[in-house]
């Protein structure tokens, strides 16, 4: 039909994606720095032996903990938000989009906590495991 009704649809008011987009860029930028530092420290810094003892020492060092926590959390955010963007390209409904975002947040938070327990086991557990 050649006649088209002009007008404003109701769906226009959206949740917005500005913060997600900004965080994606920020996390990407910080990840580059963290990754570079991580590689430098691991391969060129101090004790480079990959033995349990040196790992435990690293995990008791505040700088390592900060860098690795950053890598963990930001890497997860960056990756999962990237995944979300790929899936959203397939024209999900408003509801499916929200479900996806919620699920990814839960996955992300769980993985961060799970990863953190490993990271912090020596730091927090200096008392627990001795050391």
């Amino acid at each position: 039909m050649s006649v088209r009704d002009q007008g404003q649809p109701a769906w226009l008011v959206g949740p917005g994606g500005a913060m997600a987009w900004l965080l994606q860029r920020l996390s990407g930028f910080i990840l580059i720095i963290l990754l570079a530092t991580h590689l430098l420290l691991l391969h060129y810094g101090g004790d480079q032996q990959l033995v349990f003892a040196s790992v435990t020492i690293r995990l008791k060092t505040l700088l390592f903990i900060i860098i690795d926590t950053g890598l963990l959390a930001l890497g997860l955010y960056h990756g999962l938000n990237g995944l979300r963007n790929v899936v959203l390209d397939y024209d999900l409904s408003r509801r499916a989009g929200s479900v996806l975002t919620t699920v990814l947040w839960i996955v992300g938070i769980f993985m961060t906590i799970y990863g953190a327990t490993a990271l912090y086991s020596f730091w927090a557990g200096r008392g627990v495991f001795g050391g």
Binding site: S2, V3, D5, Q6, G7
Partner: protein
């Protein structure tokens, strides 16, 4: 299926049509626009140089006034314009231009932020407001945006085939939906045409391919007289080869015209105004240079912008540069553009008053399809865009008033369907047409005849030939064949139908021109070289009869300025 009905039905999607639609919608009426192409594809979009209004924004134009604008218009028209109409247009000009600015039109700006104005041919002051060299594009897109804002219903790719008239009152139209080939009757309380000019009756035209004159022909067939149709403007500068328009702004910004010897020949023809003489004079000067052997081989002269410098060209004339590079491979920053005069504008048209009203009640026209008359025998550059926004608004306002006072509501189904059957009958006969004649050959011959014999320079012999040729072509058209009989998007059939209307208009143009035994504005006869105010200071009125046009004449309204010699 019951017929459609709209209180105000607008035909056309260009500036005048949309402006009328906006006015009627704002008056609270039910409005619909029927247009052969999407509104932003309309020919208004191709206007380049600008729109005139005495805003006095330019330094050199500080003491410009409405009255001076009106006088320039009347003098430019070779005194054939109706002076009250010219005054009305120029008085409305600042209002309408400011309104377009308030609606968002991206005009170019002066250093203090006002709408920029440039000099144009035949004008005493820089009063042509512009948006680079894409003013028509800027205005039309802005106008369409306003139509979208108002949620005006647009029927795209519908073309009107006929008016519906009942006892001397226009009651609707019969229209074709190009996409499925169905023909529909549509009732209306008022119909406003903004259907554009007749450019494509001519060869060597700067106009869009859709500028077929159909609107004028439909009005003419419904008994509305056509006024001054023999006055056809030839634009001095169209690109040599395909006749794409090269705006007058190129000269307004300081471009020179040079012949093969490199001379600025305009000093012979308009020593004061030079390249900025009015269009009829500059076009004739160029053609004279070419005819007398001072053109370049093939028949063109050079439009030299090289001295303007890259910055000015890039800023003020970017579209011209694109066109030139694209179509002839010449960058005007480095080399002159090859140009020749080309058919550009139809000064005449459907006879209307300053409110767009015609002799047919409930039927209005505005823009190039109408003849108010403000352009008389020669239109000034920048006045056509102005005409569309001024008289579009006036026609919309007056039609709304008419509908509120005299609206009769839905016309009877009998009336609409009787007319539908008649039009559909004609359409179906053409769809089945299986004669020996090729419509493309007829079209080509018509265009060649018109530009050659009713062109820039005219005489009795050539025009008599033209009238005979057009008559012969009309006869051949009766034996035409169409190549495609399908319904959906049948361009072959539509173009053949339009050809029939073009041939009618060609006859009106050629006969009107032949009868007018003087030279005035764009109508330049080598056998009657002078203007003859004693006998010919009058409007030609062509009335439709089955045997061809019947002519009579109407006096010109001269209220302020007595005709004088035109020197520039």
């Amino acid at each position: 299926m019951p017929s459609m009905y709209h209180q105000v039905l607008i035909v056309g999607g260009g500036l005048a049509a949309l402006r009328a639609a906006i006015e009627a919608k704002d008056a609270g009426l039910g409005v619909a626009v029927f247009t052969r192409v999407h509104p932003v594809r309309s020919h208004s979009v191709a206007a380049q140089g600008g729109v005139n209004g005495a805003l006095a924004n330019a330094e050199k134009g500080a003491d410009d006034t409405i009255e001076k604008h009106a006088f320039d218009t009347v003098k430019g028209s070779d005194f054939l314009a109706d002076q009250p109409a010219a005054i009305t247009m120029t008085a409305d000009a600042p209002k309408r231009i400011i309104e377009m600015e308030h609606w968002g039109c991206p005009f170019s700006r002066t250093s203090d932020g006002k709408i920029a104005q440039r000099p144009f041919g035949g004008a005493g002051y820089p009063r042509t407001c512009y948006a680079a060299d894409k003013t028509g594009h800027a205005l039309l897109h802005t106008m369409y945006e306003q139509a979208v804002k108002r949620n005006i219903k647009v029927y795209e790719e519908w073309t009107v085939l006929s008016l519906v008239v009942e006892n001397g009152v226009c009651r609707g139209v019969i229209a074709l939906d190009l996409r499925d080939g169905d023909i529909h009757p549509i009732g209306a309380d008022a119909v406003i045409f903004g259907t554009g000019g007749t450019g494509r009756v001519y060869g060597r035209s700067t106009n869009s391919i859709i500028v077929t004159g159909s609107g004028m022909a439909i009005a003419y067939q419904a008994g509305v007289p056509l006024k001054d149709l023999e006055f056809i403007q030839f634009h001095p500068t169209s690109l040599f080869g395909n006749n794409v328009l090269i705006t007058e702004a190129a000269r307004g910004e300081g471009g020179y015209l040079r012949n093969v010897n490199g001379d600025r020949f305009m000093e012979k023809y308009a020593p004061k105004a030079m390249e900025l003489g009015p269009r009829d004079i500059v076009a004739r000067s160029i053609q004279t240079e070419i005819n007398e052997g001072r053109g370049f081989p093939g028949g063109y002269v050079a439009l030299d912008l090289t001295h303007l410098g890259a910055q000015k060209i890039l800023e003020r004339l970017p579209a011209i540069r694109d066109i030139s590079i694209n179509f002839v491979g010449i960058d005007p920053i480095e080399k002159p553009i090859p140009i020749q005069p080309g058919q550009h504008y139809t000064m005449g048209g459907i006879d209307t008053d300053v409110d767009g009203a015609t002799t047919l009640k409930g039927f209005y026209a505005a823009g190039e399809c109408a003849c108010v008359s403000v352009h008389g025998a020669n239109r000034l550059g920048g006045n056509s865009l102005l005409e569309t926004i001024v008289f579009g608004q006036r026609a919309g306002a007056h039609a709304s008033q008419y509908v509120k006072g005299n609206g009769r509501g839905r016309p009877s189904e009998d009336l609409l369907f009787d007319k539908l059957h008649e039009v559909r009958g004609r359409w179906e006969r053409l769809r089945a047409a299986d004669g020996p004649e090729d419509p493309a050959a007829i079209r080509d011959e018509m265009k060649a005849t018109m530009i050659e014999k009713v062109g820039i320079f005219r005489d009795a012999q050539k025009m008599t030939d033209a009238v005979e040729t057009v008559k012969r072509l009309q006869d051949r058209y009766q034996k035409v064949h169409v190549n495609y009989r399908g319904r959906r998007f049948n361009l072959d059939l539509l173009r053949t139908f339009e050809l029939g209307m073009k041939l009618q208009l060609a006859e009106v143009i050629a006969r009107g021109a032949l009868d007018r035994k003087e030279s005035r504005g764009s109508h330049a006869r080598t056998d009657y070289k002078d203007r003859d105010d004693a006998n010919w200071l009058k409007h030609t009125m062509a009335h439709h009869t089955p045997g061809g046009p019947r002519f009579d004449y109407k006096p010109v309204e001269i209220t302020k300025w007595q005709p004088e010699a035109r020197r520039y």
